[in-house]
Amino acid sequence: MSTPIFYPKDTLVSFTKDEIMFRESVREFAQKYIAPKWIEIDEEASKDPMKIPLDLIKKVADQGLLCIPCSDKYGGQGGTYTMATIAIEELAYADPAVALAVYTLLNNGWPFALQLFGKEEVAQEIIPHVSKGEAFFGIASTEPQGGSDVANIRMTAKKSGNVYVFNGEKAYISGVGEVQVLPWGGGWFLIARTGEAGHRGLSAFAFLAKKNGVIRKGWYPTVYHDIGRHGLTTGGFKCENFELEQEYLIGEENKGFYYVMEGFNLARILVAAATVGGARWLLEQAAQWFKTRKLFGRYIASFQGISFKFAELYAKYEAARYFVYRAARLADKIYIEKDPAYNPKDLNVPVALAKMYGPELAAELGQEVMKWYGAYAYTKESPIHRAWLGLFSYTIGAEGAQNIMRYIIARDLLGSEYVRD
């Protein structure tokens, strides 16, 4: 049970008629098919991470929620980035442990980055399968020695004839299980070293670990046991002389760092949208509780220690929501409308604000709502910890650590010469 929060009339974050119709459509879909199942999915996959909700992935695909901004030429929806953002917010509201929301966001942001920077034939080959829910396409950047330091990636890709030969290891990668069980397969927008040390020696690849149902040679995956967000796997993989045809190189060799940074900007908008959707669910859980719980003969929200904190968190929620949709609108200007007055760098600060703010709000809110509910929240009966732990993945660092967001904001506002050590 939850109590809906009524938003004030908003003229700043306002939506077109198409967007309103779309939000209603996704909300109805998500409330009908996902909301009744998310707890069960989270519980089952907490015991066995390979309990992947394939039936719901297919439903999400049939509803047209994957590859929303991708061109219909590739089986995408030909939609906008704002629409993708709306979809993710609503999915996370229905599934605040965010497994399905994150599956969906990765398979919007990264296929779109592939469309922007990859070769036409490769986009033609991969995106239609992703959009039908037959293949996964995420991001593989992090390595065991540390995720934030992208410029120090160690996995190598050596050109040999018509192929690149990969050696090295990736860690904490979402989708390692999904790629194995989805019928077509898929892989990642993967970053590996093709040249000199530092960020100028990195290239991006459409790295297909499995294609046409066949896992390729030299790829050795493991799946982890996470503490939350069950239902979407994370794992690692080793490459031992893994061969990939040269056409899967994305853009130019040794320019991968720049492509992946743009990709991160796009994906992070959706990440932040997921935290806003989850936060809305948490706020409504709190509002519901405040209407029933009484102590010392009063409703607990009559204690200002509680209602003031609620008000502060609500303020952060509205701010996060604003950051998210401002960034989404900018992404549309740059990548969908291709308005020459905007360029990709304009997204850096707005996106970092959204990705810094949303996850921290969601984690703080999750923790507060746990406390407001008291001991009940500490039992498995209560669903709140599932939302809290799922959303916390983004405070830990999925799609970029929080301090990196602070770094980007300070760097772009002050100038890198004053911010670098």
């Binding site: 008629k17 119709m21 779309f22 996704v26 929303i68 030909g78 939609g79």
Partner: protein, 260 residues
Amino acid sequence: MPNIIVCVKHSYDVQQLRYDKTSRKFLLAEAPKKMSDMDRRAVEEALRIKEKHGGKVIALTVGNQDSIDTIRQAYAMGVDEGYAVIDKDFESYDTNNVALILAQAIRKIGNFDLVLFGSASTDGYSRQVPPKVAMYLGLPFINFVREIRLEGNYVLATSDYEDGLYTYRVKLPALIAVTLDINEPRTPTPAAILRASRKPVTQWTLKDLGVGALKKYFEVLDSYMPETPRKHVIFDASSDDKIPDAVQKLIDALRREGVI
């Protein structure tokens, strides 16, 4: 291959309708609107018939300028053509007036085998428009339908009159009004929504339909949120031994109220 006209109303979303706490009047100006719930099922049913038998699905509305949004929604669901009779005085019309306008529009569209309605609109809930349209058009009419089957030139429709289910067989063309139980309507994809906003909506005025001055048969004088005083009955279940007694008393009270 049947041609189906579905009549859809752009209704107030009653779930989001609020009222003024003192006057108890509805705050209509700020209330969001959407396609009426049963009408959405009618569109869905028409699309399912089309998926099975072919033909064409046409959505028709009468309303203010904003009722075009409902035709867009019907387009997003997959209808082939959309018509809107736009009249700024729509809110003041009674059910006879609306039925007459719809009947004229249906005649003007022409060439139909089946006309579908929702049995009632989400906001007005008068349930008067579909039978009146059937009367104006001289069509057989089946109400409260929860199942439709086409067989050649006939339609079989099962009505739920609460005391039992009745299956009727009538010759096409016919007019059928459906309930919420008939199906689960589809939720449109982003691509369908975007395509819908590019489709043309044919707009007519009353003059285009040859409808002159409308005589009003009745007027809605007032509509407001009734006060429902709560009874605040408390059953004491504060200790384990009191629970069985409290449960029994609760059951008795609910029986007295006729709830169970």
